[in-house]
């Protein structure tokens, strides 16, 4: 890894994003619109809104960054830029961390806007701090990026790449404890839920919802999600080959 190359790569990815105004607008507006939808759905049940909106603040960045990254990385593979990059001094980790940091920054903006709306406009109420909610949202976004980088290796076309969303993201959302709390699931479902990283991210958000100060469980959960990010990045690095057939 080299700081110069990593820095140049982050700037390059952010520039690509900024040239695509519509994507930037959607990244920021869509989570806000969905939160508004939730707010009006649970108009007369503020407790339910608090529970669901808090989890969604973590789920949106994960899903959106997973999709954006898998397409971005697939484009690198199919346009020949990846092959060219790998003939330059760029290291695999420069590229992977470049995506993680660049989209992590984008997610920080996205999560801040969504959280600001949720707290000020929609009266979201959590015992813990907004800052922690945003931190967890950004870690979730980076998890989405890391899994997207890895999964893009198994897609040859954009059609295939978007199909990984239901495969990778939906089961995690179903089993994360939002619909059925995890300790009430059948044993085998809970066991699956135990090995899915989003379960820990959601638990961390619920800890912020219930406790004024960060709890040990919260830090442990964040650590687990961070560990999953590292594992996914290492796996993604293994899929990047300088030589191909």
């Amino acid at each position: 890894m080299s700081a110069r190359i990593l820095g140049a790569t982050i700037v390059r990815i952010l520039r690509q994003l900024l040239h695509d105004r519509r994507t930037v607008a959607m990244l920021i507006v869509v989570p806000a619109l969905l939160l508004a939808l939730l707010y009006f759905m649970y108009d007369d049940q503020p407790m339910v809104f608090d529970r669901i909106a808090l989890v969604m603040l973590g789920v949106f960045p994960f899903v959106i960054m997973f999709l954006v990254t898998s397409i971005a990385m697939l484009r690198e593979r199919t346009s020949g830029t990846l092959e060219r990059l790998l003939t330059t001094p760029l290291g695999k980790l420069d590229l992977l961390f470049g995506y993680g940091i660049a989209f992590g920054l984008a997610a920080a903006v996205q999560a801040s806007v969504a959280a600001a709306l949720a707290y000020w406009l929609f009266d979201l109420d959590t015992a813990g701090s907004t800052g922690l909610v945003i931190l967890i949202a950004v870690v979730n976004a980076v998890l989405g990026v890391a899994l997207g980088l890895f999964c893009s290796a198994f897609a040859r076309t954009e059609f295939q790449a978007v199909q990984f969303m239901p495969v990778v993201a939906v089961p995690q959302i179903l089993l994360c404890g939002l619909f059925v709390s995890r300790d009430q699931m059948a044993g085998w479902l809970e066991a699956i839920s135990d090995v899915l990283p989003l379960s820990y991210a959601v638990e961390a958000l619920q800890e912020v919802g219930a406790h004024a100060d960060p709890t040990a469980t919260l830090w442990r959960d964040l650590g687990i999600v961070g560990g999953c990010v590292v594992v996914a990045l290492v796996l993604a690095a293994a899929t990047l080959r300088r030589r191909t057939a």
Binding site: T9, R84, T88
Partner: protein, 239 residues
């Protein structure tokens, strides 16, 4: 004259098909060597092997004294892929600056390369909005910046207008004059005459490795297109 590239008994298979059948050749430093042959003859595969992105079955390739693809070469070798490999959602300038930064060159070097390929006026245009010819020149700018020791160019002049093509060839010779070794592929025979050496390749085997003059002489014709045909026929008779 020392060699920039030494290929020894190179065998490459893509899928189940053998693309290169034990190819051996040597490319001298500071020269412009043309790699010519019909579409599907193995030109791109050979170039990919030289820059070290191709899995090879057997044989060896030494580039500037190192095995092809070795880490120290990544700073010294510029590679232009056949399909323009630049970011369509960045401007020409942003592309050039990014590839310059990867090899440790500054913005001025990137700017110079953009001007060298005749895109100074389009520098702040998004690559997606360029014509096909401009787009491949944007890609070329990213390969030539910093005057690498070896330039591997896969069909750099396809789709360019004749005046620009002439300018590009002059630039290749300028670069070679400063010591850059250039391996350039083409399937257009009229470009063969612009090279100092020719590698004629067909169905993964070398048919000729000589100067254009010597190729003309050995085939007994001044027309390189005709010479290529005669060499193929002569080979088929002996085979």
């Amino acid at each position: 004259m020392t060699s920039a590239i030494e290929v020894q008994d190179l065998v490459v298979e893509r899928g189940k098909r053998r693309v290169l059948h034990g190819l051996t050749c040597m490319i001298p430093r500071g020269s412009v060597t043309g790699l010519l042959g019909p579409s599907g003859s193995g030109k791109t595969t050979l170039m990919r092997a030289v820059v070290g992105v191709q899995v090879v079955r057997s044989g060896s390739i030494m580039v500037l004294g190192e095995p092809a693809g070795a880490a120290p070469l990544r700073r010294k070798v510029g590679y232009l892929t056949q399909a323009p490999s630049v970011y369509a959602d960045l401007t020409v300038r942003e592309n050039a600056r990014y590839f310059a930064a990867l090899s440790g060159y500054d913005a001025a070097t990137a700017e110079r390369a953009v001007a060298d390929v005749g895109l100074a006026d389009a520098a702040s245009q998004l690559v997606a909005t360029l014509s096909g010819g401009q787009r491949s020149r944007a890609s070329l700018a990213c390969a030539i910046l910093g005057e690498p020791e070896l330039l591997v160019l896969d069909e750099p002049t396809v789709g360019q207008d004749p005046v620009l093509r002439d300018e590009l060839w002059k630039q290749f010779h300028d670069l070679a004059g400063k010591g850059t070794t250039i391996l350039v592929s083409s399937h257009v025979m009229d470009e063969a005459g612009r090279c100092e050496r020719l590698l004629l390749i067909r169905e993964g085997a070398l048919i000729a490795d000589d100067t254009p003059a010597a190729v003309r002489e050995s085939a007994g014709t001044d027309d390189l297109d005709e010479a290529f045909l005669r060499l193929i026929r002569a080979q088929e008779v002996t085979a």
